[in-house]
């Protein structure tokens, strides 16, 4: 079933360069056209913020607030595949509490608001997925995992809280002894192992999808691509494909506990937990070699685009008629040759609502996509 009418209406107030703006959006492909600096990306950023509760460009709330305003507001009508509608509203500003509401009812926890629709953004900075630090890939994995699995954010949050608590205790050894760190370590290990399990599962299905989608991008002579989970735990567990999830979870817990134990002296000296899921990575290889060190700029860009595209296709499967999927595309095709651009358009899922920012409508849009043009001016 085709369902690409996820966000019929979007309203911005004091967001970036928009004082007040309303957009009536169409199913299919929405082209946001305008000269550079008119704020096309800002519209994509607002949609992303509503879905994921963070920006894809900045961590500073104050960057998002229009000049002279104290807070911004994003409001959208969202349609679910069962045709029920929801109104999402978010208001935030520097130094004030974020307000989120669902159908005018305030929502306390971000985890109950996030992912009302599933959203992926394609942005030029995505190349950092391929050659940037592991934190970029962990963020990618965490967002994708939380979109695929509603319980993931809880485990991730509990793990992060236990980890921060342990680090705080390591900084004050005169107040916190082994017994105090021990009880937080038990929690860290339990939720850390759950985080590892989910990340591994995410990578396994993503890998399958990437390997299926890759040939479309590479034509006759495709380089061999590979993705693998690289856990940040000393004595990393390298499981066989058939390993039972139950026994693997137990093995992850043991490995994590042993890693904390093995590094205790060093952790106490450095006053920081040196190893654990906070050092996890998604390892990427091209023709058997690490991508960041051996891949060309073009290969890095293509691999990053593939990761986005394949994860978008995964989301559509995962949503399985429950939630709409929105894809935001900002200026990622310019560096690609004609064949890869064509492959991109071919693989772009038709059941998602698409938002594409550009200075002028691209010539190669496939005929089967319904196109609506929104000239953007601040």
């Amino acid at each position: 079933m085709v369902f690409s009418d996820v966000i019929p209406r979007l309203e911005l107030r004091s967001f970036r360069n928009y004082c007040r703006a309303e957009f009536t959006l169409a199913p299919g492909l929405n082209l946001l056209t305008g000269a550079n600096g008119t704020g096309k990306t800002n519209v994509l950023e607002a949609i992303y913020y509503l879905a994921v509760l963070r920006s894809f460009r900045t961590r500073q709330i104050r960057d998002l607030v229009a000049w002279g305003a104290e807070s911004f507001q994003i409001k959208a009508d969202v349609r679910r595949p069962d045709f029920s509608a929801a109104t999402l509203r978010l208001a935030a500003g520097f130094g004030r509490e974020r307000e989120i509401s669902l159908n005018s009812a305030p929502v306390g926890k971000g985890s109950e608001f996030i992912h009302q629709f599933l959203c992926t953004a394609f942005i030029p900075e995505d190349i950092e997925l391929a050659r940037g630090p592991s934190a970029e890939r962990r963020r990618f994995l965490d967002i994708l995992s939380s979109q695929l699995d509603g319980a993931y954010l809880h485990d991730l949050h509990q793990f992060a809280q236990a980890l921060k608590s342990r680090n705080a205790m390591l900084r004050q050894p005169q107040r916190f002894g082994r017994r105090e760190t021990g009880v937080f370590e038990t929690i860290l290990v339990r939720h850390g192992a759950a985080v590892m399990m989910r990340r591994r599962r995410t990578i396994r299905i993503l890998r399958q999808r990437v390997l299926e989608d890759a040939p479309a991008f590479h034509g006759e002579m495709p380089p061999r691509l590979e993705l693998a989970y690289d856990p940040g735990v000393v004595k990393a567990v390298r499981p066989g494909e058939e390993e039972e999830e139950q026994t693997l979870a137990a093995r992850y817990e043991t490995a994590l506990m042993e890693s904390l134990e093995a590094n205790r002296a060093r952790d106490e000296q450095e006053r920081l937990t040196t190893w654990g899921p906070q050092r996890d990575d998604l390892a990427l290889f091209i023709s058997g070699k690490p991508l960041a060190a051996f891949g060309s700029e073009g290969q890095c860009r293509t691999f990053a685009l593939l990761l986005r595209l394949s994860s978008a296709r995964l989301l559509l499967e995962a949503a399985a008629g429950r939630r709409g999927v929105v894809l935001l595309i900002d200026d990622v095709l310019g560096e690609l040759d004609a064949a890869r651009r064509a492959a991109f358009w071919r693989l772009l899922p038709r059941q998602a609502q698409l938002f594409f920012a550009c200075t002028a409508p691209p010539a190669e849009i496939p005929a089967d996509l319904a196109v609506t043009i929104h000239p953007v001016s601040p």
Partner: protein, 201 residues
């Protein structure tokens, strides 16, 4: 913002804003509502606030709010003395009392292990608790701490000590509110409910 009012109201508004959940607009509305009260009612209300430092004390036994040496619960001869329910703050006691299901005593911890808020074991009312336990007669401990990371860690930390002392230790189950619709429960709540599930007898 509130500069249109005479100083007495201004100061009142500033005072009311210190209350939890009260913003500028609410403080203004509350302050203005006082102007409609009879003078005697206002004096009594003010006297009540003024008396708090003298009248309000903490129970030397459990740490609950009290107006005497011990709180009404500790003083009640009909309460079960072999069970102690440990809470983080005194304000949690009325909530448990309202259920009418619990007939034992309490102990207020005064917080929990919270390294990120600079709260170590020395900030908890543990010496008082150990004294009570050493006096004998306690058989069971119920840990009514919150179900987040710090609550869970504090519970495990306390349970270790009490079990070693031969006490029976239990913990309030986390999970679904009564009458909750499974379809609307968030994933974390459902996970907690699953983890603290009970066998059907």
């Amino acid at each position: 913002m509130a500069s249109n009012y005479p100083p007495v109201l201004e100061e009142l508004i500033v005072g009311l804003r210190r209350l939890p959940g009260v913003g500028a607009r609410t403080a203004e509305r509350l302050a203005l509502s006082f102007t409609g009260w009879p003078a005697d009612d206002l004096r009594n209300f003010g006297a009540l606030l003024a008396a708090i430092p003298e009248r309000l004390r903490f129970c030397t036994g459990c740490g609950n709010f009290a107006e005497a040496e011990t709180c009404p619960i500790c003083a009640d001869p009909h309460r079960q003395r072999d069970v102690i329910c440990i809470v983080e703050q005194a304000i949690q006691i009325p909530a448990i009392e309202k259920t009418g299901c619990y007939r034992g005593l309490y102990h207020v911890l005064g917080g929990r292990l919270e390294p990120l808020a600079d709260k170590g074991p020395e900030t908890l009312r543990l010496a008082e608790l150990r004294t009570r336990l050493a006096a004998g007669g306690v058989r069971e401990i119920i840990l009514a701490v919150s179900s987040d990371v710090e609550g869970e860690a504090t519970a495990a930390w306390l349970a270790h000590e009490f079990r070693a002392a031969g006490l029976s230790v239990s913990r309030l189950a986390a999970g679904l509110p009564v009458g909750a619709d499974l379809g609307y429960a968030d994933a974390a709540t459902l996970a907690a409910a699953l983890n603290s599930r009970r066998r059907l007898e």
